[in-house]
Symmetry: C2
Subunit: 461 residues, 2 copies
Amino acid sequence: MTMPSIYETLNSQLGPGIVYEGSDASKARHLHDFMYTMPAGTTPGAIAIPKTVEQLSTIMRLCHENGQPVTPQGGLTGLVAGSLPDPGGVALSLERMRAVIEIDPAAATMIVEAGAPLETVQNAADEAGFLFPLDLGARGSASIGGNASTNAGGNRVLRYGMMRDLVLGMEVVLANGTIVTSLNKMLKNNAGYDLKHLFMGSEGTLGIITKLVLRLFPKPQSACTAFCAVNSYADAMNLLGRARKDLAGTLSAFEVMWPSFYELAQNAITNLPLAGGHPLYVLLDALGSDQDTDQVRFQGMMERALEDGIVVDAVIAQSGKESTAIWGVRDCVGEFPRLFGPAATFDISIPTGKIAEFVADCDARLAAKIKKSRTVWFGHVADSNLHLMAAYDDASKELAEQIVYEAVREWDGSISAEHGIGTLKKPYLSYSRSPEELEVMRTLKAALDPRGILNPGKVIN
Amino acid sequence: MTMPSIYETLNSQLGPGIVYEGSDASKARHLHDFMYTMPAGTTPGAIAIPKTVEQLSTIMRLCHENGQPVTPQGGLTGLVAGSLPDPGGVALSLERMRAVIEIDPAAATMIVEAGAPLETVQNAADEAGFLFPLDLGARGSASIGGNASTNAGGNRVLRYGMMRDLVLGMEVVLANGTIVTSLNKMLKNNAGYDLKHLFMGSEGTLGIITKLVLRLFPKPQSACTAFCAVNSYADAMNLLGRARKDLAGTLSAFEVMWPSFYELAQNAITNLPLAGGHPLYVLLDALGSDQDTDQVRFQGMMERALEDGIVVDAVIAQSGKESTAIWGVRDCVGEFPRLFGPAATFDISIPTGKIAEFVADCDARLAAKIKKSRTVWFGHVADSNLHLMAAYDDASKELAEQIVYEAVREWDGSISAEHGIGTLKKPYLSYSRSPEELEVMRTLKAALDPRGILNPGKVIN
């Protein structure tokens, strides 16, 4: 008698239409994510797509009993190969668990299944008269559960926080199938350990998030946007300090672009808001409650900055159309891979005050080891978050990564600001975490997933 | 040969002036907190007051080796008996570790030792041109480490969040003495599990916080305050929705007081802002950037609420002095124990939309079982947080607690909003947490403190 395969084991318990063979061509999309694919010739042992948390719990219980690796999958839009299944392992997709379960206007909360796309959540909030503020380019596909398990960021972190800050409660299925229901709707709740934080940002290695209680916000009634040039990073910091103070809680984006960014943007956009040739560019955005008074306040702040020489040139949007055009400069990064050529790309954090020095140092390090080194820098610097494209010419991508992550290590930065660790950044995790921190992570992993079946090969395990 | 006592063990390793005998009269303050004291005739086995994290680590290592219970102590201002030492155990005070180590204006962060009083932190931020927004009555004594380990709240949670939201990084000493340094200063950092959240709100049962990286904010440039009367809780919710929307991120307090509160306040304050007799009172506070324009916006919002009948009477502060007088109404609770007589007091959370019904139901339950039942209700309702004083007449405090916590359980509330669990609320933890949640908490406790020496008897262990 031969042992049943994991497909057979799961399928016999779950019934038809839930579990598929790993070689099933109709489910081939579960073998790759937005950027990466499973090794050639390999497939998962099974692809499970449950419709209910009870089915998902059964799948986990069976996999736990069989020591069977499981990789949870959301919208497959990650950038660090965090949802590629193990060859022979189980791909566990949340795509059929996507209901918006409840919106509570008084509590300003939404309960949603983890497989719902971010855009579905945004639209449901909008229809109920609220804003769900998390936003990122992959909104149409990225699942809200994936956003939580990677602690997603985006363009409005300054005003509303990371995904972690937008979650009040959750339901999670542990490695052994236990359903832990913690659908808290209260802002203040100090009844024992706050378990939800364990599962956010741990990329499916400690449990599988199946439902979320999200915080909703009033819709902003105004948006003020400016694009400006400054002479130095110190002036950008000065402008940030003024914007934080004078715009009292409404500043929602402070995006800095280095000259190489602006030069490349000239190839993507016909009418850039400002002439080139400046040392640094800043996009500011504020979301408020009254367009007329907010615009006066915003323009006043910008005018004082111009008078004081902190800002040397500026365009302030006078309409939604102009605001969209300004954001187009920042968002034209989608064109950059085509314009820039092959590059190593980075999502890193450096303490805000040290960013300018770090950029200079990192450029020097790259130039010293890579012929014709070219870089493009931009980032949500008020959140400490920098993005970098580095051309590696005839050197290797790995060399570029080694150089940049080594610099991040020496500058006390983080090798991952908002994309997570997944598979790709795992070799560098010790650059941003001490041996003691890694040991605590391993302790937690061993305690919550003693058989090591949850998303093996990712983050730390 | 007799075994050395824990005092002897620690003292011989730490040297003079760090460890004291439990019976040392000069250290008797470590035998009790703000409200409770150790059982009569009992003392700790030793009182340790290290000056450095290395000394603290040595103390933990020795206690771990000896299976010796340790209770960390901050400012001893807790309200749930969370820092009372075990008889024969070690009281470990952080009171000598109180340095402000660094303020980074560009990152808007402060690094501080955990024993520093909250007021020291507030003042250091103020002198550097920033606001550290956490604030509560015990600011002069409460330590910032205690604030973190209990995830403290207070009056500005609506604008700035709980203590958990104000911490970017920490240094923590584990049960076995391992020093875990995680002094992150970056808003975005997704390099592996975010360990700090484990130690916040776990009341010293998983590790001892020794340093904190705190977020600083620009000082508000304006404050607008109003006290008003509304005809129903539904109108209060309507007002909250408008204030959230129209004051765009500046609303910092929304305090609701029930009529019994206002009647009692009449005995504490000579000139109350409004006549009595209304069904509900609301204090609103907004912290902004420009007094003139913010006052116009605030008054406009209040005037529209009056015109629309949402608010039936209101006073808007026209000066800092008037604002202070309005806050005096909310803050006169300090006088209430004297005016009200013996009472069971509560710090609970109920989902915001259900609070009015909960209050009515809870009053009915108390009246059904306690003769001459009297209650005073007030709270930060936008945070879901309710406070209650319940006179128990010739019944017992325990009966009042049983009735109220039973109601909290049935209304899906939390038995602790901002005071923690400590010893006092431990019997009721299962009222707000499921068996599965408690099991995960125990798993974490066993993983991080396998010998169960950290603050035994508190929260869950």
